[in-house]
Symmetry: D2
Subunit: 337 residues, 4 copies
Amino acid sequence: MIIVMKSEVTEEEVKKVKSLIEKIGLESNLSKGATNYILGVIGDTSIIDPKKILAFSGVDKVMKIQEPFKKANKLFKAENTVVKVQNSIIGGKNLGIIAGPCSVESEEQIVEIAKKVKNAGANFLRGGAFKPRTSPYSFQGLEFDGLKLLKTAKQETGLPIVTELMSTDYIDKFVEDVDVIQIGARNMQNFDLLKQVGRTKTPILLKRGLSATIEEWLMSAEYIMSEGNENVILCERGIRTFETYTRNTLDLQAVPAIKKLSHLPIIIDPSHAGGYAYLVEPMAKASVIAGADGLMIEVHNDPKNALSDGQQSIKPDEFKILMNKVRSLAKIEGKEI
Amino acid sequence: MIIVMKSEVTEEEVKKVKSLIEKIGLESNLSKGATNYILGVIGDTSIIDPKKILAFSGVDKVMKIQEPFKKANKLFKAENTVVKVQNSIIGGKNLGIIAGPCSVESEEQIVEIAKKVKNAGANFLRGGAFKPRTSPYSFQGLEFDGLKLLKTAKQETGLPIVTELMSTDYIDKFVEDVDVIQIGARNMQNFDLLKQVGRTKTPILLKRGLSATIEEWLMSAEYIMSEGNENVILCERGIRTFETYTRNTLDLQAVPAIKKLSHLPIIIDPSHAGGYAYLVEPMAKASVIAGADGLMIEVHNDPKNALSDGQQSIKPDEFKILMNKVRSLAKIEGKEI
Amino acid sequence: MIIVMKSEVTEEEVKKVKSLIEKIGLESNLSKGATNYILGVIGDTSIIDPKKILAFSGVDKVMKIQEPFKKANKLFKAENTVVKVQNSIIGGKNLGIIAGPCSVESEEQIVEIAKKVKNAGANFLRGGAFKPRTSPYSFQGLEFDGLKLLKTAKQETGLPIVTELMSTDYIDKFVEDVDVIQIGARNMQNFDLLKQVGRTKTPILLKRGLSATIEEWLMSAEYIMSEGNENVILCERGIRTFETYTRNTLDLQAVPAIKKLSHLPIIIDPSHAGGYAYLVEPMAKASVIAGADGLMIEVHNDPKNALSDGQQSIKPDEFKILMNKVRSLAKIEGKEI
Amino acid sequence: MIIVMKSEVTEEEVKKVKSLIEKIGLESNLSKGATNYILGVIGDTSIIDPKKILAFSGVDKVMKIQEPFKKANKLFKAENTVVKVQNSIIGGKNLGIIAGPCSVESEEQIVEIAKKVKNAGANFLRGGAFKPRTSPYSFQGLEFDGLKLLKTAKQETGLPIVTELMSTDYIDKFVEDVDVIQIGARNMQNFDLLKQVGRTKTPILLKRGLSATIEEWLMSAEYIMSEGNENVILCERGIRTFETYTRNTLDLQAVPAIKKLSHLPIIIDPSHAGGYAYLVEPMAKASVIAGADGLMIEVHNDPKNALSDGQQSIKPDEFKILMNKVRSLAKIEGKEI
């Protein structure tokens, strides 16, 4: 950490900052630039809150050098994390393909789609039972009945279940029934939820918040990991920008960026990112080529009668065609499904 | 709601959309534009999900005409909502001033600050007991001990307490101890939390999410109100943009925009928006002149030793000077504290 | 165009809007929604400025149905535009690869790089002679000497030249010396420059502005095309968002979006988008798979001594490896270089 | 400037960076942090391009300490710049009020509005002769005829003229006829235009680009000032964010931020920022109270027949009422018009 003092700082002010640093148990190193005194702080500076230093008079800027995340940091664990659920794997040489409808709607619907996506090559089944909706008047999901139907579909196909948890009240139930617990974009900084799922052993799919920086996203993974659960899968699903022609802007650069910073697997959800079915195929393929560890894709047998997000779902036969392309591209990247 | 069909649409496709609308119980009205067929939907269209319509083949665009919020909508309640807690009021002719430290740290600290902000003219006391922090390694608040200290400060000063609730597990305790429950920016779309506080009778201070549109913010208020609790205070605290010289960008236009759309009171938090103490005074004053119903301001007796957000806190004597200016400006706007 | 009147509108107000529409020579069609009157406007509404309608009392919203661009619109020209310069082609089945240094620095530098990128498979040479720099104190390019050196490199390799024009003063010189004139992101809405290059016959590479929507970008292409020059190549180079870990956010969804809206070719510049060399390969490959018509890549023989943008340049041998991968991926997409 | 080396750096790599710094004529200072070597650079580092340093292998991050602008920097000129045109002044104790129509449309229109805004208290007349429009098919201004009409209005009222220059071709004409040359938001980084107006003696009103940071904006002012013209007035007119309910987001925090960084005057254009007439009054008043040096307001005698931007213009009588309020608020801030 580098602390830049104001040009008109007094010796007294510099001394106060130095003594704070020593009180915390770190060393400091004063040097003089062209116009400003600069204090270098030596030691594990992740324990200092930069905002606290900024409150001292005489301090102009505080600049971090170390990344603030530890357990999620590649520096501290060079080997890539691989998340394995039964025979389905995400990470390393294994491309994870999570597919299914936005919402679970009925037994026929979820079982039919599960069979079709499995047949096309998916290795996880997604389906919303509890749905985060902008409006309280929109369909909120079948809730516990939805979970039950997901379990039926799992029995029929063997596909592990990925579904979103929105309330800490249901954690026990989810741990029992669900294979991968999804934390949605809107809850990425619901720290209470993060801590509580961090105390389970179920793998967590952590979606990036709509306006979360890559660093904040990794800090949210850190919340989960610092409680003991290191099975975290990151999922980029589009960020909010000024562009309105697509629903959100897919930040595909996040894939190589995460690969540089962290050992955690990262997958892409092209359905939610773009918000339109025509964007799913090109972005899914691009994601695999950019190095993503997997995909999460909305598939619906009857998009126009879907209870949610029909406009961004593709049909099972389109998914099958896409999977054939994805498989070839995965091979080029040295991966398999 | 206006549904624009693609230029190459078939009659069959138009018919399917029309029949869906009728099935829902609404009327439609087909007309022909220069290049496209257009379906006007008549009736309460807030029950239709535009994304569902977009999933039909032949549909090009869906445009909403009605605002999707109802209970928060000025159209359905012309009179401004006034939130009253004991003798402290926010809304109408009353400017609410919420002041106090970012975090509750000790009895001396919170009692001393409470006395000083009361003396300067604040009519609510803020103070974080449970703190949402980006890092799991940062100070997370004194938690229940913090709540206890807030109650002590309330006993000493009579100021009602405003503090943030992050977990549904603690709702009962908060309802008992707290006068206004704050929902933080990061939880603005924690729908589970919104619904549960909507079932209480405690006034709710709903902060705008970092990248929430004004419409989404009002929809989150709608979540609370649709459960029965209509005592919602909106709080703008800066939105996330590309600018990094300030912490967030204060969207002051939200004040007249909310006044046009809703009857709910709106207050401004200049401390969190800008992130630096020097921005607090000009933005607090500007907020009052722009028509805000109140302010939320961080005040700390010893900012450089604050356990959180020291750099954006002002000192009690600075707050006193600010309050004198605020009082004069409030009078110009026909308001009082 | 749909005009939604306010719920409390008077007949007089509706009449005034109707008569304006007729005066312009278009038809209108009044209907009644649940709460509002709605006026549908029939005819070529691209000649009406929505903001003018909004100024009428009684008007609540104006919604466009037609896209405002014509010459750039796929509706009016179904066949994809292919830009051909000597034997180098961008568009259709042809992937255009533009490579070279950020700035032209010396004859050895530009000729050596030109030979190497040609050898690796590039079919256009890029190199800045006039450089847009945020600071007036940064290197501004070799200017006319730079143009001369580019011509030398062209003589040596046969590669057509792509370079940026910043000033209308130099258009004649550029038309004479340059094969493709680049309009930079910062000048995307320099309408004077757009009109003047629109009067030339030289192909134009139009970079997307840092915060330009897809629609605004196509409208800038329309400025060029409406003056007679229809040889426009669009280039996505990253948009400005809140994320700071990468320089800009590459909006790869723009590729399928542009393909849906327009017949113009679109290429990707991964070097400027990400701002770091390690992002170039994954994003270049992803761009090809997403359907881009080409790439623009910074290659420098000695990045650490580059006079500009060294951190985002790759070396000629890295470019060669990348090109081998790009060629295989192009084949998958049915394209060739 | 602080250069952070990668944790696995070699001594050779550090030496290369050190020797570059010395070659440039600056000193460096190597120290060892917990995990990384850090090089402090001493001297006028504004001459080093951080991106050049980043291209060296072994370099992890480069952090600037000095602001990159000089002539615009408050550190190098403590006294506030005051721009004076005849008897109209912007800066210091003087609030500048620039008012008039978006576009000049006819002699009657501009003269009538000029008289009315003068009478209400404006001390500058605005009016577009050359208009930057997103669409080539929109009204582009009366061009030279517009300039002539502005001069007529000036003769009738004595108000100095502020109008936008979009093309370097017309600089001589503008210098002759115009009192303050406006550089529009879309041309904020049209560096050729900035340099050329920097060689005139006419005061320049520099609008902030839609997605320009405060630092980039000041660097554009630096372009003008470094050519010799130090009469620059900054104008905030809203930035582009995700919010669509208002046209742009007015960044009012830019006022105190600019006051902290620079001696240049800053004014606010609430008409373009919000895009709707109802936002003008609250934001104009808030701007004055936040410390702005002036306002730029669109006033039209017949907004619904305006040839551009009618929906954001207020009428002369509304402007008069606003000016009465502005005058009282100015007095509170120790200013006069």
